[in-house]
């Protein structure tokens, strides 16, 4: 692995951590749970850094959280997070970033909608596919109930997909042969 890849892996792990410093936004009042900007880092890692670097960046981030650094939104970290209800979502981050990177590939000329759909597939569907069964397991809930709880997060995630698409397209225009 070349030096540039190592730097990018570190960069996107750090970006995800830095996004956790932003205060959670509640955009629909009390109707929906507040969203954190952190999973935007997962999407950007995949869409900008690519499958391999993006996936490894998230492996690094998850490892740093596991060893006890308080890098998650709200200053949480440590192994306890993985035992909790959202542990599966965290473990899904590397897979999610790798899937996004794989789907987008080098297709820099892709339109807005195709790219948003690819980011949405990796960032929402893949992540929920791992996170929801985990949540159902630790909480002893039927899958359908865990799924219903997560529906409240979908609007916030769609906002993040749109943001990630805009930023990725902007970066690809600024760095055409990225």
């Amino acid at each position: 692995m070349d030096t540039k890849s190592i730097v990018y892996i570190a960069l996107f792990a750090a970006l995800t951590a830095a996004l956790g410093l932003m205060p959670p936004i509640s955009f629909a009042g009390l109707a929906l749970p507040p969203i954190t900007a952190q999973s935007l880092g997962v999407m950007l890692a995949g869409s900008i850094a690519g499958a391999r670097r993006g996936g490894l960046a998230m492996v690094l981030f998850v490892a740093l959280v596991a060893v006890g650094l308080p890098l998650l939104a709200g200053g949480r970290g440590g192994l306890g997070v993985f035992a909790g209800a959202s542990g599966g979502f965290l473990l899904a981050w590397p897979i999610s970033a790798a899937v996004i990177g794989f789907l987008i590939g080098k297709s820099s000329g892709a339109g807005f909608l195709p790219m948003a759909l690819k980011i949405g597939f990796g960032g929402i569907i893949v992540m929920y596919a791992v996170g929801i069964p985990w949540m159902a397991l630790v909480a002893g809930l039927p899958l359908t109930k865990a799924f219903t709880i997560m529906l409240a997060y979908v609007p916030g995630d769609i906002v993040k997909v749109i943001l990630a698409t805009i930023v990725t397209r902007g970066i690809r225009r600024a760095y055409p042969n990225f």
Binding site: M1, T3, K4, I6, V7, Y8, I9, A10, L11, A13, A14, L15, A17, A18, L21, L44, I48, L60, F61, A63, L64, A66, V67, G68, L69, P70, L71, G74, R76, G77, G78, L79, G80, V81, F82, A83, G84, A85, S86, L137, V138, A139, G140, L141, P142, K145, I149, L163, I166, V167, G170, I171, A174, Y175, F178
Partner: protein, 198 residues
Amino acid sequence: MLDLYSPGTSPIHRMSPGAKILVMMLGGTGLFVFDSLPIACAAFVCVLALYPVAGLTAKQAWAQIRPLLWIFGIFFALQWWLSGLTVAAFVVIRLATLILLASLVTLTTRASDMIDTITRALGFLRPLGVNPAKIGLAISLALRFIPVLAQITREVREAQKTRGLERSVIATAMPMAIRTIKMADDISDAIESRGYRP
């Protein structure tokens, strides 16, 4: 290094990180294999009793649970409605036990010791082309980048404020992303020009 470690010299602090993780995994699996309320309650009391042994206060134990109270509430209510009070109590107690156990490992182990253990444990992957020195570089770079990125965000925010754009997410996110990538390119050039060969 800023981590969640709480300094001390208890037997739990002195256990090797690898042994602690192993015990934690066995305990966690055990809770899912023997799933009954009395066992979960006993495990909860045992784990809680380990906190004073490690020289940790009740306040620190509570701090591990507090951020999750609302999700505990949702689970408890749902389980009560679906399967009754006993199951609801069991599920919440088991979850609390797992979190307290895992947090105990984190609170009694320095992040740097944990990183050393992981890097050493990854040594067996060397034949597959994994280089522990490169992993070490990636870890130290990531930790150094976090404050730098926070600084870049502040600078871009200030610049956009003078243009009246501080509320625009795009006007902040775009320059931030481009500056960050440019910085990464400069840093990798700087590393290479110094002849870095791990």
